[in-house]
Symmetry: C2
Subunit: 350 residues, 2 copies
DNA sequence: GCTCGATCTGGAATCGATCCCAGAGCGTCC
DNA sequence: GGACGCTCTGGGATCGATTCCAGATCGAGC
């Protein structure tokens, strides 16, 4: 879309129906072809005629029909975005980054969220195909969706997690490195019973965070205890319950590494409920920063994925793919910073 | 879109280009008209032929082009949504509610955020017009955008706030009643110096919250002190600064009513920085709930607007408007609950 | 004067789907 | 047997824009 200068959006003078290019052409006393050339700037038009047509369009409040234009040109200027849950700040930030960046490039964003349902995910993908979007950015739930979109020749960028590595472009954070870094930090403070609370280990996110956690132990020459790796469930309620079970007992871990912000919230709530002080009784680190982590006392040390930047990088990668369809698939890996706050300390010397 | 049964999304067998209805028609050995009738279910088709066409579509992985369909039918099955800032959980929840509800009705959602810029808002509106969306749901920044969309005969629903009352449909919360309720609560606990920290007083949100605050004083027969109504700025940094100024002094208020979640965060941070204990030294209530408010100790008492429900109500209103274009404009008012937490107490007896 | 190229314009085809309408086939009823 | 109604199919117009192409006009150069 050509960005009209401020204040130039014309006043449609009470049209019974929307103005079409035919109306503009008639008003300017030229043919539809000429009107089109004048407005798009492609092809010859005499300057005087061009101005006349533009004025007419202006007066009529003409806005070209994107459907018709896209149909004719067989390209669309919108992208599809599919995330898991907008109420989770991680996905909201991601969408925000994508939105800003794609607007800057003149593309509109179709946003859908599958509420964790593979069927909803495929339905959204089908809608994107129907709308002939220029590309899709998604946080995949299944490998099928990428394959489906690929079959329809729609460029796909997987963000945050990947299914089949190398099957399509992807933008992810270096989960392993970041997980290893925070785990090593806990070990260096003297913790030995460090639990990992995790939601899944099938996607690259969970898998790599687990790998990072383990390699920190190996690097420190410390033994691994698989009983300390615990599945935490998908929502705060479940996570809180699991965390209570984990923390309620004599043999409890002295530190917990929560693999995402929902699980961290569960641990925090469980600690509160059990009267455990952070960090005196329990150290906590989180993968995924969240707004509340800077509000509580002490603040929660977290791997701060910049979700907005992740979204922006995904958009950049998508346009590179569109301009360059043949180039080999690429996985962009962003590093994540660790925001040190007050939620870790040496373990209690019980 | 007809929801295909799971697993029925056909395999496009390596098409050089996407299958069109012409391809389906040829594969099923019928005309394009018949293929169309078979797939849409409108008009006569012999059952045997219908099945043959559907199988052909299946085999080819045919997905009808929404552009072409919309162009022909002059209606679209997508709605435009325009919010201020997705990173704010209020707007993200709103979008989430809209998304879920519109997906349920088979509509796609075009989402844009103006980053507080009126120009970006108008640009997004123009995109919505170009895409011929069925309707637009927005949290308006300017009166102009609603008027612009209205001129192009696009149904508009304003959510959260209204500009010209009655100019279009709207879904809002009862700001006045909720503000009055929480203010009255503070007065009943004995507070007299109750500050209102507010961002704007031009929109209905700010105006009504101010009105509610004032009428609580009037109802209690207490005098108003306009020096206690303070503008707090638009982001957390500014809000924190203003709150520090407000709370740093001998004559500081004993309670603060923050008119939104960003301002409440500013007050919370300022109180922390100044070493003020909540609620012993300072009571705090917020308009707008936010996730962190249940995470901190004590929890922050807040007017809990259900933003998801707000979004869902907006979608419902939009479809009512679409089905019933002539009916008088309607403003739906949702009441907001007050989530009582621990952030208020009787004022210090200094 | 004639050719050639550049500039400029309008007619008509095109994108992919829907839908009106004419007409074929067939059964029923008077 | 003929009129009528119902079922079913295909031809072709249509939505709104873009774009190819033919042709008109004009000025310059030989």
């Amino acid at each position: 879309m050509e960005a009209a200068a401020p204040g130039t959006r014309g006043a449609a003078t009470a049209p019974g129906r929307r103005a079409t290019i035919k109306d503009v052409a008639e008003a300017a006393d030229v043919s539809r072809s000429t009107a089109s050339r004048a407005l798009t700037g492609r092809g010859y038009v005499a300057p005087a005629v061009r101005d006349r047509v533009r004025r007419a369009a202006q007066t009529l409040g003409y806005v070209p029909d994107a459907m018709a234009r896209n149909l004719r040109q067989q390209v669309s200027r919108s992208i599809g975005v599919l995330v898991s849950d907008l109420r989770n700040s991680f996905y909201a930030d991601l969408a925000s980054g994508i939105s800003g960046q794609s607007r800057r490039r003149g593309y509109a964003m179709m946003l859908a969220d599958d509420a964790g349902s593979v069927e909803a995910e495929l339905e959204a993908a089908e809608t994107f195909v129907a709308l002939r979007v220029a590309g899709v950015i998604l946080t995949p739930l299944s490998a099928e969706v990428t394959e489906y979109l690929g079959r329809h020749r729609i460029p796909v960028i997987e963000v945050d997690r990947q299914f089949a590595e190398g099957a399509c472009d992807a933008v992810v954070v270096d989960n392993k490195a970041a997980a290893e870094r925070v785990t090593t930090g806990l070990l260096q403070q003297g913790h030995r019973r460090v639990a990992l609370l995790i939601d899944e280990m099938d996607w690259t996110t969970g898998r790599d965070r687990l790998v990072g956690y383990r390699s920190a132990f190996l690097a420190a020459g410390l033994p691994l205890d698989d009983a300390l790796v615990v599945r935490g469930g998908w929502d705060v309620g479940a996570a809180t319950g699991v965390a209570r079970g984990l923390l309620d007992g004599p043999d409890r871990p002295t530190a917990v590494f929560a693999a995402n912000n929902v699980l961290a919230e569960g641990v925090w709530r469980a600690a509160q409920a059990l009267g455990l002080r952070v960090p005196e009784d329990l150290s906590l680190v989180s993968f995924d920063d969240a707004p509340w982590m800077t509000m509580v006392t002490p603040g929660v040390t977290a791997v701060a994925q910049d979700a907005v930047a992740l979204g922006e990088a995904a958009v950049a990668q998508m346009f590179e793919r569109i301009e360059n369809p043949g180039s080999p698939k690429r996985t962009v890996m962003l590093s994540a910073a660790v925001a040190q706050r007050g939620s870790t300390a040496a373990p209690p010397t019980a």
